[in-house]
């Protein structure tokens, strides 16, 4: 499914840039010069000109390794932080007002790291807090409501008086999904939401996500390092490397026919169940530090197709139709 004119655009991001750390003011500069340091400290460029649209009802997969900026992007999407450049709008409205998120319809599900649920609150308080605050629910209906929500995510209603530590990771993530659903969202950004779960439990939660999508017409942006998960769940996919999108397009097409050398390296070398006794072929080198970005195409330090001109200018996304990538060398060869 490609986003065409008929599909309503929910979330739109344009030219998103984000630099971590404060810009130096004159006091900082003075202190630095007194301490004898001539160059300003490097700042981390987490995002560098990312454009994104999310159409109603689609599942957008965002792939990348650690440090590629995908989590920062996710937080900027829902309004948990202000990117230092670019605009984020949801249904045409900015996603933040002041320092706070503005859209209740836009929610996020985090990785289960043991702190997705407030350890001091019972399940019914966790699920009921938001709806009561927003007048979606009368306090006396709390228990019926929570029982209903728990059933939606496949849990028995009698767990509502327990605390989060009494559940396994998979159950906690179900409760978290119930908590988010109770706010009646329309779009959910999932940041590594199944990464910490065992395979058999991960399959259950992924199926739950798909069931809920069908039932409530949800839209997902699914951030993950796991290409298998993304291949399974995404309609469209974006591959990121060091704060930039290097390839995007319909998932089936990108997985069947990856164009950018980085995407190819990821897809062709990753361990897969079907690759028995494979000879592992590694991309050389490591992801460069975002403090010290390579010039030009950020991947050129590790790329097998590298040409001298790769270090000169930053390539833009190119290609025809919905499947686009940022490698002029591949494009020229095609």
């Amino acid at each position: 499914m490609t986003p065409d004119a008929k599909i309503e655009t929910l979330l739109e991001m344009q030219g998103i840039e984000h630099v971590f750390g404060r810009r130096e003011d004159w006091v900082d500069k003075g202190v630095r010069l007194i301490r004898g340091k001539r160059t300003a400290p490097a700042r981390v460029r987490a995002l560098n000109g990312v454009d994104l649209t999310l159409g109603k009802g689609e599942v957008l997969g965002i792939a990348g390794e650690s440090g590629c900026g995908k989590s920062t992007l996710g937080r900027a999407m829902v309004g948990l932080m202000h990117p230092t450049g670019g605009s984020v709008t949801y249904r045409g409205q900015p996603v933040m007002r002041g320092r706070r998120p503005l859209h209740l319809k836009l929610q996020m599900i985090f990785q289960d790291s043991g702190s997705v649920l407030n350890p001091r609150l019972r399940v019914k308080e966790l699920i009921g807090e938001g709806p009561i605050l927003h007048g979606l629910l009368a306090r006396r209906d709390l228990e019926d409501f929570v029982a209903d929500q728990l059933e939606t995510v496949g849990m028995a209603p009698d767990v509502m008086n327990r605390y989060p530590h009494q559940f396994s990771g998979g159950q906690r993530q179900r409760i978290n999904v119930a908590r988010v659903l109770a706010l009646r969202p329309e779009t959910i950004v999932c940041d590594e939401s199944v990464a910490a779960l065992d395979v058999s439990i991960q399959a259950q939660i992924l199926n739950l996500f798909m069931d809920l999508k069908d039932r409530f017409g949800l839209t997902y942006a699914f951030i993950s390092h796991d290409l298998g998960v993304l291949r399974h769940i995404s309609d469209r996919i974006m591959v990121m490397y060091l704060g930039r999108v290097v390839e995007e397009g319909p998932a089936a097409e990108v997985f069947a026919n990856p164009r950018h050398p980085y995407t190819r390296a990821l897809l062709e070398n990753a361990p897969r169940l079907s690759r028995r006794n494979q000879i592992f072929q590694a991309v050389p080198g490591e992801v460069p530090s975002p403090l010290n970005m390579p010039s030009g195409c950020a991947f050129h330090t590790r790329c097998a197709l590298r040409r001298p001109e790769c270090s000169l200018s930053v390539p833009n996304l190119m290609g025809t139709g919905a499947h686009r990538h940022a490698c002029p060398i591949v494009e020229a060869a095609a």
């Binding site: 948990l80 996020m108 702190s115 001091r120 938001g130």
Partner: protein
């Protein structure tokens, strides 16, 4: 809506937060001893008017003829002085119980004030950030760069002795520990996923602080509170020993020790030693407790 009859909370004690806390705490016998001793000491201190043989402040009950009697001596009216009497013929056991009461009262009230004020400052500092944070934390730094006892002495010298002034001085020297600690834990909690989730659910800031951040800062706060209680008791004793703390009409343990000090070399050891042991036992019990709490909340010691 479902109409399933819902099971009411039927959790066992051991599964509730307090039960889990106790299960872990009670693994150390020394700590259980410390807790039991502390509770006993607090109980006898506050029941002092009911259980003490005499009211040491009521001059009608004090028989000057019975002065400086050793422990176990029989007084003129036929009563036994279990811990002996002081120079004025006051029953040492009664003086000690009332002294303990004064010490605990001052320590606990100053702790309460410091805890509430410090926690408030710490939360504000962590959540407001920017210049508010800088301002509060610089005050904390300055406060903590002076020795505690010195600040307390200066305050007492300036304002004069008295219960309220002692409580005030002790609160002033303690709040900074709470503020710094609460700020540190609140900063950690603030970036946790459940707080971000609450922000996305548009829970008001005050409610996030009160309902989500504060309860999760409490465990380390308990450790600081238990350490500070021991320290408040001993600072108060030091002040009173130096004659700067409690008024003469309401002697605390420190003053009792100080009173007996002059008789120590004269062989009348009990006047100083009994309150000295009581003070030592109090601080020791509190320390056993705070050590255990600290170990429990130290993730490095968790296996």
């Amino acid at each position: 809506m479902t109409s399933t009859p819902l099971a009411r909370p039927t959790m066992r004690f051991s599964e509730r937060p307090l039960g889990r806390f106790w299960r872990e705490y009670s693994q150390s016998h020394a700590a259980v001893f410390g807790l039991v001793m502390t509770l006993i000491l607090i109980a006898v201190a506050f029941l002092a008017p009911l259980i003490a043989p005499q009211d040491p402040y009521d001059l009608m009950q004090v028989d000057f003829m019975d002065s400086e009697l050793p422990p176990g001596a029989i007084g003129g009216a036929g009563q036994t002085y279990v811990l002996g009497t002081d120079a004025n013929g006051r029953d040492m056991l009664s003086a000690l119980l009332f002294g303990l009461r004064a010490s605990f009262m001052v320590a606990l009230s100053s702790l309460g004030i410091a805890l509430v004020f410090g926690t408030l400052m710490g939360l504000v500092s962590a959540y407001a950030g920017r210049w508010v944070d800088s301002l509060i934390m610089r005050i904390v730094d300055i406060q903590m760069s002076f020795p505690t006892i010195l600040v307390a002495m200066m305050l007492m010298v300036t304002f004069g002795r008295g219960i309220d002034k002692t409580i005030f001085a002790l609160a002033v020297v303690q709040w900074a520990y709470f503020a710094r600690n609460v700020r540190a834990s609140a900063l950690v909690e603030r970036s946790r996923e459940y707080v971000l989730a609450a922000q996305l659910a548009q829970v008001p800031t005050f409610r996030i602080l009160w309902r989500h951040i504060l309860p999760n800062c409490l465990p380390p706060l308990m450790v600081i509170a238990s350490i500070q209680l021991a320290s408040a008791v001993s600072i108060e004793a030091s002040l009173s020993f130096l004659g700067l703390g409690m008024p003469v009409t309401q002697p605390s343990l420190g003053m009792l020790i100080s009173n007996g000090f002059g008789y120590l070399l004269g062989g009348k050891y009990w006047i100083s030693v009994a309150p000295g042991i009581a003070l030592g036992l109090t601080v020791f019990s509190l320390s056993l407790m705070s050590d255990r709490l600290r170990d429990m909340f130290n993730p490095r010691l968790k296996r």
